[in-house]
Point group: C2
Chain length 527, copies 2
């Protein structure tokens, strides 16, 4: 694999140096800029990438399942083949440690390989056949449904996962799996990492013999390149992971288009954790230690970082707080992804420190690097929390708020009060089952994933995962951005009525040549 970084965008098979503003990425540990310079793209680059994507769509979406699966596997292999250069560049650009980035690379290629399996399996096609009933009054036509890709998808890379939620991350993998060409707007914090991964995808497009417009990678800021991309008529859906402000700006732009399009923005979540009475009484110390580990992992820069803890007041909660405070104080400051994220985190900690009725329990260690995250743990009571909406805002980084409740009924009151969340967690024993049962319906309405006796950081890439949830966790709760079901976001159904065999798509032919699970007259069959 090509490991040179030239500061170029990738538009189809071409390398294009953007002629708008030049920029460099920054090493957040030292605050120093990193070579080379990258050229931001302009509207003409967006136009070129989108036109190529549009031209590629009809051919790409009819690529065979095996060819498309091999393409995804080839991307995975090419990313591996970039070798240590990718990890080194990502470390430099993000301040994330080597082991974490190697793990993230594993997750990224695992994700691509999972979608290869999903493509081969073909259940996403939803092939559905209703036989003609010529003797019925009125006669029923022969009806066959399959799903096809929506069209070219715009993907916005996230800052906090430079591999797994970026150029060849979950949005890209699931859109490509669905048969949709992808135009990525790289996150400006890790352009070198983006270029390396982009070249891996670009090379796979070529070696698999696919139309070049299947993939392009653009640099530039959200206001020009991002908005132009979302506004381009060829783009039929948007995937985004980032801030609520950024996500909603794209969503509103997408919904104001002449042709509104779906936006899958994964935005903000404070991931409430409920410590039910018996679990807390029995395991306060163990839960507190695990919680602080989860809170401070990767400087807390996870969408699923546990930012809110609820428990009933009393000695067990006091113990939890004391142990957590101690553990937190021992945590060294990990480098945050960018100076901007670092200063926003500090501002959030200051706001909480100054908030009436909120007590600072502990800070982690400071220093280490220019953008070191000094973790913070706060405490308040349910009434103060419910009265102050600012306390519900996500502070991206290792900051959490413990809420002492007078009764278990306040758990439900707080849960009802909260906006949509990616996750909610229950620590419980069988003795807590009545409290849990009362809480569960509210959590089901509010969150995408409900955990028992675990920590929400760590999002498995599998079939049953849901990384999503009601607004403002995402802009569209009907789906997930992680796991096999993410492919459904980029599909739409088409029905063929009385279509002659010579025009029917393979997936819908009588003989079922792809060996798909299909629904025939309402029954699931594979014959």
């Amino acid at each position: 694999m090509n490991t040179s970084i030239n500061g170029d965008m990738l538009i189809g098979q071409a390398a294009v140096h953007g002629s708008a503003a030049s920029f460099r990425s920054m090493d957040p540990a030292s605050g120093r800029e990193i070579e080379p310079a990258f050229g931001s793209g302009g509207v003409a680059d967006v136009e070129r990438a989108c036109t190529l994507a549009q031209q590629a769509f009809d051919g790409y979406r009819e690529s065979g399942l095996e060819q498309r699966a091999q393409f995804l596997e080839q991307i995975a292999q090419n990313i591996i083949d970039v070798g240590p250069a990718l990890i080194e560049r990502a470390m430099l650009e993000t301040g994330l440690p080597q082991a974490r980035l190697e793990g993230e690379r594993g997750r990224t290629v695992g994700q691509l390989r999972l979608f290869a399996k999903v493509v081969r399996d073909g259940r996403w096609i939803d092939a559905t056949l209703d036989a003609a009933l010529p003797n019925r009054t009125p006669p029923r036509a022969d009806l066959r449904l399959r799903k096809i890709g929506l069209g070219p998808v715009a993907v916005f890379g996230a800052s906090n996962f430079p591999l797994a939620f970026s150029v060849a991350g979950g949005d890209t993998a699931s859109a490509l799996a669905a048969g949709c060409p992808v135009v990525v707007k790289a996150h400006s914090a890790h352009p070198g990492t983006s270029e390396l991964v982009g070249k891996a995808v670009q090379a796979a497009v070529a070696s698999c013999g696919l139309p070049e417009g299947v993939f392009s990678l653009l640099f530039g800021d959200g206001r020009t390149v991002g908005q132009a991309l979302v506004g381009h008529p060829a783009i039929k859906a948007v995937g985004f992971t980032g801030s609520r402000q950024g996500g909603m700006a794209l969503a509103q732009a997408a919904w104001q288009r002449d042709e509104p399009i779906p936006v899958y923005a994964e935005m903000s979540s404070i991931n409430p954790v409920f410590l039910l009475a018996d679990a807390l009484a029995q395991r306060a110390e163990e839960i507190a230690t695990g919680f602080v580990d989860s809170l401070t992992l990767g400087a807390g820069q996870f969408c699923t970082n546990p930012g809110l803890v609820m428990a009933q007041e009393g000695p067990a909660l006091d113990k939890f707080c004391a142990v957590a405070a101690n553990a937190l104080q021992a945590k060294s400051a990990s480098t945050m992804l960018t100076p901007g994220i670092h200063s926003a985190f500090n501002a959030g900690v200051e706001r909480l420190t100054a908030a009436p009725g909120v007590q600072l329990l502990a800070r982690g260690q400071s220093g280490g690097s220019a953008s070191g995250c000094q973790a913070a743990l706060f405490k308040t009571d349910a009434r103060t929390f419910l009265a102050n909406p600012a306390l519900e805002e996500e502070n991206f980084g290792a900051s959490a708020l413990v809420i002492s409740c007078r009764t278990a009924a306040e758990f439900k009151q707080i849960a009802e009060h909260l906006g949509g969340q990616l996750t909610a967690t229950l620590f419980l024993t069988e003795n807590d089952r009545d409290t849990a049962r009362k809480l569960l319906p509210t959590l089901e309405r509010k969150v995408g994933r409900i955990l028992a006796n675990g920590y929400p950081t760590g999002v498995e890439v599998s079939h049953a995962m849901v990384h999503g949830g009601p607004f403002p966790a995402t802009s569209d709760s009907r789906s997930t951005s992680v796991g096999a079901a993410a492919i459904d976001r980029f599909l739409r159904p088409v029905c063929y009525q009385d279509m002659p065999a010579y025009l029917l798509p393979t997936a819908l032919q009588d003989a079922n040549p792809l060996g798909l699970w299909r629904v025939r007259d309402g029954e699931q069959v594979r014959s």
Copy 2:
């Protein structure tokens, strides 16, 4: 069943006479008002209905599959039990003939019964289980996914199907099947029909022992009651069938909410028909006759009415036009649904008559009733059509435009030029297969249902039906508003991680007590 019409809204189990503006429906055939007076609701009524719906949601969505299926079947039975009073009232309010309304009633109850089957089958739950892998590094948790209802759904009744797309129509049936309470805003053109059907639903809620908030029926105009309904925080999705202007007003309101929600608006479509060369040469007369029957059916007041016909110029097309013109001239004027629809249709016909380069081929017979639809057939050429966007606007009613093309390549050019459509139709023989193959990818991108050698009016309610399509046919192309798959519109996934058995929903329990088809570790199984 109760067959009295009192002009009341139904809010939960209560009958409430709206205290805002009073209105009566009108017999479109005579132009006379019909008794009794209906009271429009206000914001307080919306609040009451939505609060009840919210309160009902958690209980209703966990109703057993069998109970929910029986509820849908009970609604169907209650509608039948209203008897002739329902058909008589609908005839009076809509001007539609008895046979059509009896057929539509059959379709409406058939739809409810289909969704009862869909509910029992349980595939909509998408139950997905990934086993824990405790020995993997890192260990994988036990993950289980199911789908649940989005929450209370606002449904807006359509004018043109007073039963099948109205109070207990497809949107209501699919939302109730998904476990979502429904608040209907009745169409003001058939309030008496709405009240009768509403009472049938209300009685089923009571006799099935469901929470009263599962169903409410409101009267009022779109600007006050409609907007208040879409803006209410308890409402989590919207179903609508009607005009593009009306649908987009609701969609924009829904997307501007503090919490944006999905809107399924089925809006406008001109349903292009392509007459490929050999089919036209062989069957011009037969196709022309069938086409005019489809065009004038129900005064053309169908979303799938074929409003655009493309064919290559030449003697076969001349013959088609002559036969179609003759057939059209013999068609008597059916009464349109409302005086407003009738005058909008006439205005549309006048616009087309006056459009440069457009030739009037024929008009149907006039008269018959105050709102009689005098069908109209126009002709133009591809260049004129492509140059004038106004020619692409839907004229709701029996009006169609024939476009003569110089080459088959112009078919594709026109197809690319068109906005999204509910349907497209190909008349073809095997000798036309090359032309059809070139056209098909464009049609797949543009429409929800592609027909061969048939007419798009008549939308089967089955598993493989797609009544949807890209904008502006609908506001959301990812689904269908007719057929079994319509249930998917009102669902979202929830994942349970390491959840103890005593908290797991029945659908996800190890023993599979519901006997569902589930996905276990990526494989479709039923054990």
